[in-house]
Each structure stands twice: as C-alpha cells, then as structure tokens.
Amino acid sequence: MPETTPVELLRSLESTAREVRQEVIRMTFAAQSGHPGGSLSVTDLLTALVFHELKIDPARVDWPDRDRLVLSKGHASPALYAALALRGFLPREELASFRKLGSRLQGHVDRTKLPCIEASTGCLGQGIGMAVGMALDARLRHGPQRVYAILGDGECQAGPTWEALMAGGHYRLSNLVAILDRNGLETDGTTESIMGIEPIAEKFRAFRYHTIEIDGHDFSQILSALDEARRTTDGPTAIVARTVKGKGVSFMEGKHQFHGKPPNKAEADQALAELSRTPEAPP
C-alpha cells in the first residue's frame, strides 16, 4: 500500500540498496568472478526482505521462530551476503573474502559455512523445494515462521522448480512466498529466445498461487506485495517481480554478458561512481 508506506522507509531502503549494489561490484571485482547481473537485479527484493519484511535477528541466528529466506538462485550470493552484512549478520570486511579459498562466502551460498544462510543452493531448481519443506515444517509445528524463496527466471525452465511449486500449491502453504526475479536474461541470452517461460504469471496462478505482478525495483510496490502475501491465508503467494539485469549500472543493465562475468578495474570504478550518486546528491 504505497499511500501508507512512510517516505522515510522507502528512502532508507533505496539508500541501503545502493550500498548493497556497491558491495556487489566490489565483491565480484575483487574475486574476478561471480554473477553481478543477477545480483543487481535481485538487490531491491533482497533489501526489502532483509531490512523490512523478515523477522530475523543478527544476535539470534538460530532463533527457531525466525522467518526463512531461501535464495534458490544461489548464484546471486553477492547481493545476499552484502545485505546480510549490512544488517549485521557478518562483518562487512568479510565480504572481501568472497570466492577465496577458506572463505565462508562461497561462490554459491553455503549454510554449513555461514550460519545465517538457511539453505545451500547453487544447482537450480532445488531451493524452492527446500523452502516448501521448511513451510511444511512450520505448519506441522503451528509456528509463526514464514518462508520466502527467491527464484531466477532461467530456473523456471527447470522441471523440478514446477514440481516444488506444485507441492506448495497442493499443500496450500499460505506461509510460503515464491518471489521471481524476472530479469528476462540467462547466461546465453533472453529467456524468451532460449526457452520461453511466458506467460509466467498465469503459470503461477495455474499452480494455485495468489500471484502479484510488480516492478521489482519499486520499493512501494515490493512492500505492498509482501503485505498482500501476508494477508493471503488460503494458499501460497507468488510475486512476479519485473526487474532489470545489472540494475543500477548503466553498462550492465539488460546485458546477459554480465550474468557470470565480473567487472574489470575500469568497469568497477565506473559502476561504483554511478552507484554513489544519490537522488539527493546528483553528480
């Protein structure tokens, strides 16, 4: 509900998201590997979850009643690490260790190394199934936990994604929210030229999801959709968030080439310069 969302909250989330994006650039540049494009597209969704929606507490990582976040598109790990670091779950300096030998910050998120990660993912089509299991567990224990799974759109080409979504719909898991980072691009090009997934919202609806379509970079729409999901009590919710791959960095936006390619020095400098500009302080 945009009209009831305080402007300060929106400004604060936007500002945090800019910081997350800067960290994504620094991490992928320092590692000279990683997935900047899909990390930047999912940043606003993750920021809204980690800084507003999720009931989580950096001081109690194993709090049983916490909400669960499963990054099914585990390659967007830089954005999740950055958001969790800014929220206090790990030291911000540790972000520099991303993808390095001995680091807790694996290329794809690893719960056994970093306790604030709920599920290790990376190979696609599995995180959403684990989220369904977590939501079933919460229902069995009559717990307050809500489970949020973030899917990539390339991942929606994988059959098991739909197996898991089918199970979430079948069991009417109203504590489950599947959020699609619909940036339209995968490694080799556009999803629609490679293996089209549209009409995607209709697919979620056919799988018994209360489905909401939003602009995944508009915080008032993101918060409004998350509110609506919480008020949905007869089954799971799907949020189809239209996003831009590489969002926030002019030369990465809409480029599948930056799916799994890090920026070089000049590109990183330019990206950081662009991301340090704020609406309040134009260049």
Binding site: R111, A119, Q126, G129, G133, L140, A167
Partner: protein, 318 residues
Amino acid sequence: MSAVLGKAESLRDAYGKALVELGEKDPTLVAMDADLSGSTRTILFGQKFPDRFFNVGVMEPTMMSIAAGLALQGRTVYASTFAVFAAGQAYNFVRQSICYNKANVKIVATHGGLLVGADGGTHQIVEDIGLMRGLPGMTVIVPADAPTTRAATFAVADRYGPAYVRLTRENLPTVTDGSFQIGKAAELRGGTDLTIVAVGSLVARGLEVAAELAQVGISVRVLDFASVKPFDAPALLRAARDTGAILVLEEHSVLTGVGALVASTTSENYPVPVRRVGVPDVFGESGDPWALMDRYGMSKERIRDEAWELLRARGKVH
C-alpha cells in the same frame, strides 16, 4: 532351502514396521514417498501418522529437496521410493539438497538391483551403491535380510546425517541375528582358507557355497558388509591376512560397487587376490528374478567356480 539359511522374509515389511515404531518414539519424525508407498511399505507409517506423512507423487528429485527442507528444521526425515528413482532420477538433489546441506534425511530405497525382475532393465539399477557411496557424508547400508533391515532402519536414525539404505524387492532368507551396527562387518561364518565378502541378496548364496566347501574340507569365512559406508576396513584387512584371498559377491555393477571398494582397500593396505562376482557392465532385462541373477553372472555355480579359482591361486587346492 539350505539348512544354513533361515526363513525368507520381506525386507520392505521389516522397514515399514520399524518406521512405524520410530514414528511412535519420535513425534517429530516425518516420512515421505513418491507414489510407491504400498511397495516401499511407508504406507504403514502413513496410515498411523497421516499428518506426518507426505506422499508427493511422481516427483522424486523434489521429494529430496522437500525432505531436506523439513530436516533442516530439526526433524529426522525418511524418504522412500525405488532405488532407480532415489539414486538415479534424484541424484543431484540427493547430492546438493541433502548431502551438501548435511540434512538429516534417511533415504530407504527399495527395489535395488536385478531382483526387480519382470519390470526389466529400466528399473533394475545396479549403479546406486557406487553413486551413493561417492557422496561425502553419506552413510550407505545394504541389508541382507529382514532383521538387518530392521536394525539398520533404527541405526540410521541414531546417526545424524544423510543415509542411503538399499533394500531388495524379493523376500530374502534370514542370515543374521539382527545385531547390525553401522561401520561393522558381521562374521557370519569363521574360516581360514578364503573369505567371502558379500552384501544384500548374495550373502545367502555366499553362505550356501561356504557350507558346500566345508564338506570337502575347505574353510571359508563369510563377512556380511551391510555397512558399505562407513566400511569396516579392519575386518577386511584381518580377513586378507588370515585367509589370503577374497571373493566379493554383490548384486551391483562390478565397476563401482563393493568389489571395487574391496580391491582398492586391499591393494593399498594388504594386497591379496580379489575376485568379484556381480553384474558386468550391462543393463538387465525382464525375467524371473533369480533366473536373472543366474543369467547375469551371480549363480551359485559361478560363485563356486570363482572360489575354486582363488583357492587354486593360493595353492590351497590343485
């Protein structure tokens, strides 16, 4: 039936009944199946605890990730289907969702091996032990009879982490006293001239051949290696030292199964002649279950021939 063997019983029934007992002991335990609950016998659990039983239909890969999600919240989860689906269809889901996540999921797979019979080669997986044994952190158990199945069903619950228990469709004669322990081989027969290392359905044939050889003065030790991983290397190496030759029997591909494990373990630590009886590098076919075992190189005659071959190589007979 030979005098050395007990009554043939269903391993699957033993599993289903043990699972119900576990469900009574642990009110948080959950069981899952993928539309084969009548065959795997998880239906017994489902009838007793309908709220804690999830039959997800024909989605074996996702059954594994849902099981992992449930387990990561602190539950022990049993997930059952046929071995070809559990280890084959769902392999990378077992690998990442369960093993990489160190999720406490016990996969009890029925219908492993050629004894599936009439359904044919599509369903007769003879690669599953190799696939599952290769996964870091996975416990792999291949029971030879109903008492070991019952004991293994309980034992994997007491050991945190992923487990794969491979059961067979056919009833098998009782050959153990059910005193199975994870990580321990069971000596079912003492002997000094030769050791038979066997798993699953072929333990009984190993005992029968050992009994026959005893009648001509050959003393054969028979070890049931139901605990494939962790593997009782000390028991194997003791047998290598004591008897000087090892014959491995398994209803599995000889390329990646227990024979390969025995050969590598002995050759690195105490090299002795090892011969493997199992399925060669081929798929199975439809047929009577035990006729298939004979056809694909696991007949009693073949086991006897391989035993004599090893005894000759060791100079025990001429």
